[in-house]
Symmetry: C2
Subunit: 348 residues, 2 copies
DNA sequence: TTTATATTTGCAATCGGTTGCGTAAAAGTA
DNA sequence: TACTTTTACGCAACCGATTGCAAATATAAA
């Protein structure tokens, strides 16, 4: 068994009769090394099969060109797209991405934050677990000057970068769209208890839109799901369709919920959008595949990922520690599709 | 600006008047350290806010408790579930997961393989990029005794662990199911050029099933998509429905393709499954949401992820280098749903 | 030729744990 | 009490790259 020892800069140094420091500098195009030497070094490095040891470099410099991502799960379209955005941006700058899933558990989130720190990541991007109430496990990053970006599900009182959409405005827009379509009894399907403010904000937008248009709020039309799943959506939708009369519009705080509403409606003999108009949230792939297509609010996952990564990278490059931890708002748009097109407008 | 220096084992050693070696050993419950000392050390470590430095440990031991995952993309349901399975298994053993996306580009795959090696990952799990023909960039892992597992899209001639499903058998089962439903003109939608053998294997199963049941193969009924996307699926489906007569069954080598077939059929006035029965592949979430529900073949993503991770972990634990690089086959099942239920059997 | 300047390279400490080997202290045995 | 065994801990080298500072060499200016 050939115990193939790694080629190190020492090996290269020996072969070329140079100091390791010269090799190191040559490899990073340091200006104090002559072009000739650089070329020679790089060539022999290549020839000898040298692969830099990230650990050693990281240990010395106490930084790793690694971005840690701590999110609830990666199997949701929004989050996997988010990661994709992060990964692409990071990759471009030579950074590596470490991913950890909290599975919406506070305890796991705490552990993984520690693990990320232990790995000396250069920066952290996180979306909070549903369960999380206390966020002090993120303090360690701040106090050690590791840039921290919260994205999408962000804590309220934590002075660090945040990348979000304006959930309030989005909720307002969605509801207003239904109102514009002539709906007057608009239901809202939303997530139950939560600490992060995104569902609450959307609901706030919903309420405000009703208010602005003189539509009385009917608490019976607001249903809180225990989880954002298809099954829970069906349960909630059935509650809605048990009402008499049924609502004529539904704003679901997630496409998967909207899908369940549409399908439950169909199953129970109601027509979408004629009997009930539906709008979802996220613009998940499924929303444009399901029949009827589902109107929705865009949730620019990749862009949010890119924005988050860019903030990290920018902060890493410039030493000046921005004390201004700005909040980045990304745009959302209403996408009108069949499920809410009561007025029968032409769709693109 | 408080330059919060990290607490190291040196700090603990000094505080307790012990040697760093004792601290190090105490922290890992080494048997040569007394219970009292261990307890004392752990307590003060906790109190002082000590966080181990993974880099330092990894550098010394040349291993990092990190599993590198190199896949085409994470935004496909199958692959994100795969990662999820890997991550959960790894996490349980205290391993961290680094993820890199090749975006189906050979060049990126080569670079990222190098990056993974550079990070001294303990093991690698990879699914090949579509473009990849040559796999020599994976040699470095083998020659350095880093366990390597290929999963799903695996190379043919590379002696390492492989975790796959029996695509041939799955293709056969899917086709046979359609035959059992009474289909006699069965089309097949598959991916175009590819090096990994999964689509080819499925096609082989399809052909063999036809053969075994004395159904002549009609090349017009086999359509090669340029990409596994909804749009390409629609294009291909339309070709199918331009035929006269149209086929009475379709085996699509992916659920997203099956969805497009079902919807294109509906759009063109054909009934599913009465006029044409459809079966997909993967059991993606969408398959059981779309109306009609789509019959499919399970593709146990999470299990495959777990299996891959377990192989890595097992190989890491036992020093003996298994020279037998076994291939792990995971089971697939036919899930019969509405889209292929011509005989109108009761479905669960 | 000499001095000043620019260019190139080397020395050696450093990052923070890990571990083989050696020794001191405690416990056990004759 | 003397001797062996066990238990507990310390010393110091090591992993591989980085970097401040010093030194050597080359080039330019006087």
């Amino acid at each position: 068994m050939e115990e193939n020892k790694d080629v190190t800069i020492y090996d290269i140094a020996e072969k070329l009769n140079l100091a390791t420091s010269t090799i190191s500098r040559a490899l990073q195009d340091h200006h104090t090394i002559s072009k000739k030497t650089i070329k020679k070094v790089k060539e022999t490095a290549e020839k000898m099969g040298y692969v830099p040891n990230t650990l050693a470099a990281g240990l010395r410099g106490n930084k790793t060109k690694t971005i840690g991502v701590l999110i609830p799960t990666i199997t949701q379209p929004f989050l996997s797209s988010l990661i994709s955005g992060i990964e692409i941006a990071a990759q471009k700058s030579g950074y590596t991405v470490i991913i950890m899933q909290s599975h919406d558990s506070y305890k796991e989130e705490v552990n993984m934050a520690k693990a990320l720190y232990s790995n000396r990541v250069s920066g952290v991007i996180s979306s909070l677990a549903m369960e999380t109430r206390d966020t002090s496990h993120f303090d360690q990053f701040i106090s050690n000057n590791i840039p921290l970006v919260f994205v999408d599900r962000v804590p309220k009182n934590f002075n660090t970068f945040r990348v979000i959409i304006d959930n309030y405005a989005a909720g307002y827009k969605a509801t207003k769209h239904l109102i514009d379509q002539g709906c007057t009894r608009i239901a809202h399907l939303t997530a139950g208890s939560e600490f992060g403010n995104l569902y609450n904000e959307r609901k706030r937008g919903y309420l405000e839109a009703l208010n602005d248009h003189n539509i009385p709020v009917d608490e019976d039309l607001i249903i809180y799901l225990n989880a954002v799943t298809y099954e829970e959506g069906v349960k909630a939708s059935n509650k809605l369709f048990d009402l008499n009369p049924i609502p004529d519009g539904v704003f679901a705080s997630g496409d998967i919920i909207a899908v369940s509403a549409v399908q439950t409606a169909k199953k129970r003999g109601f027509k979408v959008p004629e009997d009930i108009a539906v709008i979802g949230f996220n613009n998940d792939p499924i929303s444009q595949i399901i029949d009827p297509n589902i109107s929705t609010i865009t949730h620019p996952a990749e862009k949010m990922g890119k924005a988050s990564a860019d903030i990290i990278l920018k902060n890493l490059k410039s030493d000046k520690k921005d004390d201004v931890k700005e909040i980045t708002f990304l745009n959302t748009e209403v996408i009108i599709r069949e499920s809410s097109n009561k007025l029968n407008n032409k769709l693109p």
